[in-house]
């Protein structure tokens, strides 16, 4: 079998670090080749080298057996390399066809764009690969999963032979993930080759033929997926044994900390997102709100933390109604919040770690007095948290949050929220986009908080996390809690059915 892509002994250095150190990646024609590694292992750098964004210091690249010099992305495109980026590069108010032809518009007389011809071709390719994309739909009107297919179509329209998927499932619902896997299989049946960048082992097992593992810039090995277990792959990736099971004692729930009574709230479009929702969270338990994305869990978190307002109903925290209070008042009462989008809400990326760690407490003594900041106290606080929570960064307290890895950014947020020792800790998708090592750490911390007697409200879209971490699971469907089950008395099937609205929970 010939190799369609060969990256041989690639070394790429940045000041201070070797992002790729003698890495070799060989992709066979017609296979799905996974590129596995933790955040910062050098996957993106390697793909950027292949895509012509970086020039390697050493090593050579062969495409279909011929040595090539990829000096910029246009060269990569001409060689038939296409990339489906994690963040879609689409014009929201253009149609599918318009997006696909952008930059390569077919023309008819007087330089007019021949949109019909293009749409026909898009339709043809879409049918060929079973993508089911409407060429005339506007991007803003179609789902995220569909938008991703448009990205794939864009590559196929440009005759790409080698498709790179950069963490494609991060934004998809479980159903869409299954569909994407199917699409990838169709692609290789049609003779395309796929490189799948990911750190999700399940997906590799489901779809990939072979897998190349990177760790800290080094090439650890290339394996056949079939003969390797997830545990073995995880160990290769992290460099030590990883436990997927979250070790914890049975919960010892105490008083009700948070009580939601007939809660109603609207979403951004002013449509009802939460409808008469009732829920109780006890001290000393982890309650997980599970559901398919877009069923009101985001709005639920936002109204509890005060980012958005309720339309009716009560939020009772330790016996006190808080729905009218400001965000700051709720923070001070003892609500901690690990937000879903850590770049948007959790951190000021251009602030240093120490500033970020003081984001909610800067106005209190000892961090400031009479409105004057006390930099020593802020530094001290930060140094202590960095040590205690093992937040790793280039320059310690004065590192800009932007330059830290995702896992360490999340650790910093957790440090900040946990350190305020809130009575209620809300964690929304706390492990999204993180690698196995960081996930393990975060799960341990959540259980630790529970054992300290805090109430933990977890919101997660990952089935594994839902089942492993929580004590009780409240399934949300179209803004209502359709059932509450004990985590140790249920299984993926039951939860899945409840999530799709077709089964009510039995035990409560």
């Amino acid at each position: 079998m010939e190799y369609v892509v060969e990256m041989l002994n690639i070394t790429k250095e940045f000041p201070g670090i070797k992002a790729n150190d003698n890495v070799t990646l060989q992709v066979k024609k017609g296979e799905v080749h996974a590129l596995l590694g933790e955040n910062g292992a050098g996957k993106s750098t390697l793909m950027s080298v292949l895509f012509g964004l970086y020039r390697p210091e050493e090593g050579k690249i062969k495409i279909k057996g011929e040595e090539v010099e990829i000096s910029n992305p246009n060269v990569a495109n001409d060689l038939g390399i296409g990339m489906v980026h994690q963040h879609f590069q689409l014009v929201e108010n253009f149609t599918v066809t318009e997006n696909i032809i952008l930059g390569q518009e077919p023309k008819k007389s007087f330089g007019r764009i021949d949109i019909e011809k293009a749409a026909e071709k898009v339709k043809k390719i879409s049918d060929q690969y079973g993508l089911k994309v409407d060429p005339h739909a506007k991007i803003e009107d179609i789902t995220v999963g569909m938008q991703q297919r448009v990205e794939i179509l864009k590559m196929l329209y440009r005759n790409a032979e080698i498709l790179i998927f950069d963490e494609p499932t991060a934004v998809l619902t479980p159903q869409e993930i299954i569909e994407l896997m199917g699409i990838m299989k169709d692609l290789i049946h049609e003779g395309k080759s796929v490189i799948l960048i990911t750190h999700k082992l399940k997906e590799i097992k489901a779809v990939a033929d072979r897998c190349t593992v990177l760790r800290r810039g080094k090439h650890i090995g290339t394996i056949d997926v079939e003969g390797t277990t997830e545990e073995e792959m995880a160990e290769m990736m992290v460099g030590r044994e990883v436990s997927f099971e979250v070790e914890k004692e049975p919960a010892d729930p105490k008083d009700v900390v948070l009580k939601l009574e007939n809660l109603c709230a609207d979403n951004k479009r002013k449509l009802p997102a939460i409808k008469n929702l009732n829920l109780e969270v006890h001290a000393g338990e982890i309650l997980c709100v599970a559901g398919i994305d877009g069923n009101g869990q985001k709005e639920l978190i936002e109204v509890i933390t005060g980012l958005e307002q309720t339309t009716s109903g009560k939020i009772i925290f330790n016996g006190k109604e808080i729905q009218g209070l400001s965000i700051r008042e709720r923070t001070l009462l003892g609500i901690g919040h690990i937000p879903e989008d850590r770049h948007k809400h959790g951190l000021v990326l251009d602030f240093t770690i120490e500033q970020n760690l003081a984001l909610q407490t800067y106005f209190m003594e000892p961090y400031s007095k009479n409105g004057i900041i006390n930099p020593e106290a802020i530094r001290e606080h930060s140094e202590r948290l960095i040590k205690e929570f093992d937040v790793r960064s280039g320059k310690g307290s004065t590192t800009k949050a932007r330059s830290m890895s995702g896992g360490n950014q999340q650790k910093a947020i957790i440090a900040r929220e946990v350190e305020r020792s809130p009575k209620l800790l809300i964690a929304a998708q706390p492990t999204r986009g993180l690698d196995v090592g960081a996930i393990e750490y975060i799960h341990e911390r959540l259980v630790e908080e529970r054992d300290k007697g805090r109430a933990v409200l977890l919101m997660s879209l990952e089935m594994e996390e839902v089942l492993n971490v929580s004590d009780r699971i409240a399934v949300i469907y179209e803004g209502e809690i359709v059932g509450i089950v004990d985590a140790d008395k249920t299984n993926e099937n039951e939860i899945g059915l409840m999530m799709s609205g077709s089964k009510k929970g039995m035990n409560n």
Binding site: L307, S326, I327, R330, H345, D350, F351, I373
Partner: protein, 362 residues
């Protein structure tokens, strides 16, 4: 070389490169139009330092302290409008309205000076306060509209510039004793003007206002770097969502930030009235202090010290213009250089890419 390409030093290196390129382009244009670029630099030297190289070795004095005095007079108001634009920018807002804020500040100061009776010292303070307050209110309007109704501050501030121009013109001529072009002169005790400073600099218009400028720059630095309020403003500026999440009042901070930005610009107006001229002027059009302030903020990297340094740079280019003209060099060259510097600073991403390439090439 290592210093230039080190990312840490970009804050200093990029404006420096932009300034260098600005002067380079200016010199090239002079060469192309048959002028001697040396004249540019001798004019600048004369405008800033007061040293006339042409007079060295002749019986005439080669040093005239009037020029440095006037240079500082040119620089002071644009340092303040630079601080104004910078302050708003720290909260993520574009204050295009420094011009209008300056005009209402100037009017308020002169109106208080003419209309209110009392001990000079008290009136003097009241005049300064009136300028700050009027500019502040003029800045608060777009800030409030932004916070309450999400109206874009650029649109509102531009419109308020015109409003300020015609409104103050209308009221200036209504003040007792005003002619069609200016108000009565302020009493000598009610200005920053100083015989001492004037004598020291060969009867330039240099005045005590520089103390006000120093205090303003210090207050900027103090608020932004040392106070919890400054911490909030920066957080809101960098990421309003995270600021809201952390319990900060994003809207209130936006409105206050614009008000304070307006106060700095208003103070610039006070300085022009009480220092440079000593009376209020009816203007037929803008004098572009506000736009100079945008350039100063951009080149100065929106910091206090940066605004002061950039203010002096643009002040120098302004001060050199009459001298250039008198020595036969078109003054437009100075304007071209100012514009080029701003252009190159605006192209800083391009400069960064070149620096990165240089680093990579080593």
């Amino acid at each position: 070389m290592g210093y230039i390409t080190d990312r840490k030093n970009h804050r200093i290196v990029i404006p420096a490169i932009a300034i260098f390129l600005g002067f380079l382009v200016g010199s090239i244009i002079m060469l192309l139009t048959g002028e001697n670029p040396i004249a540019l630099f001798t004019s600048l030297g004369r405008g800033v330092l007061g040293i006339n190289l042409g007079n060295i070795g002749t019986s005439r004095s080669f040093f005239n302290p009037r020029y440095p005095g006037e240079f500082v007079v040119f620089a002071m108001p644009i340092i303040l409008t630079g601080l104004s634009v910078s302050f708003a920018f720290r909260t993520g807002l574009f204050n295009i309205g420094a011009e209008g804020q300056l005009l209402v500040g100037a009017f308020a100061s002169v109106a208080v000076g003419i209309l209110v009776d009392g001990p000079n010292f008290i009136i003097l303070l009241l005049m300064i306060l009136a300028g700050i307050l009027a500019g502040g209110i003029w800045g608060f309007i777009p800030g409030y509209l932004k916070a309450k109704f999400n109206v874009h501050e650029v649109v509102v501030t531009i419109m308020l510039n015109y409003t300020a121009l015609f409104l103050t013109n209308y009221f200036l001529v209504e003040l007792p004793g005003s002619t069609n072009s200016k108000t009565v002169e302020l009493e000598s005790g009610l200005t920053f003007q100083s015989e001492f400073l004037s004598d020291l600099t060969n009867s330039s218009r240099l005045h005590w206002g520089f103390i006000v400028v120093i205090l303003a720059a210090l207050s900027f630095w103090f608020i932004i770097n040392k106070t919890t309020f400054g911490f909030e403003l920066k957080a809101v500026g960098h990421n309003p969502f995270a600021a809201k999440y952390a319990g900060m009042k994003v809207e209130l901070n936006s409105a206050l930030s614009m008000a304070i930005a307006g106060a700095y610009a208003g103070l610039a107006g006070t300085l022009i009235v009480m220092g440079t001229f000593g009376y209020g002027r009816v203007l037929s059009s803008f004098e572009n202090y506000g736009f100079d302030g945008i350039a100063v903020a951009l080149v100065g990297g929106t910091s206090a010290l940066g605004s002061v340094l950039a203010g002096f740079l643009f002040g120098a280019l302004k001060a050199a213009q009459p001298i250039m003209q008198s020595s036969g060099v078109p003054r437009d060259i100075a304007i071209i250089i100012s514009s080029m510097i701003v252009l190159f600073v605006a192209m800083q991403n391009g400069i960064k890419i070149v620096l990165e390439k240089m680093k990579g090439a080593k």
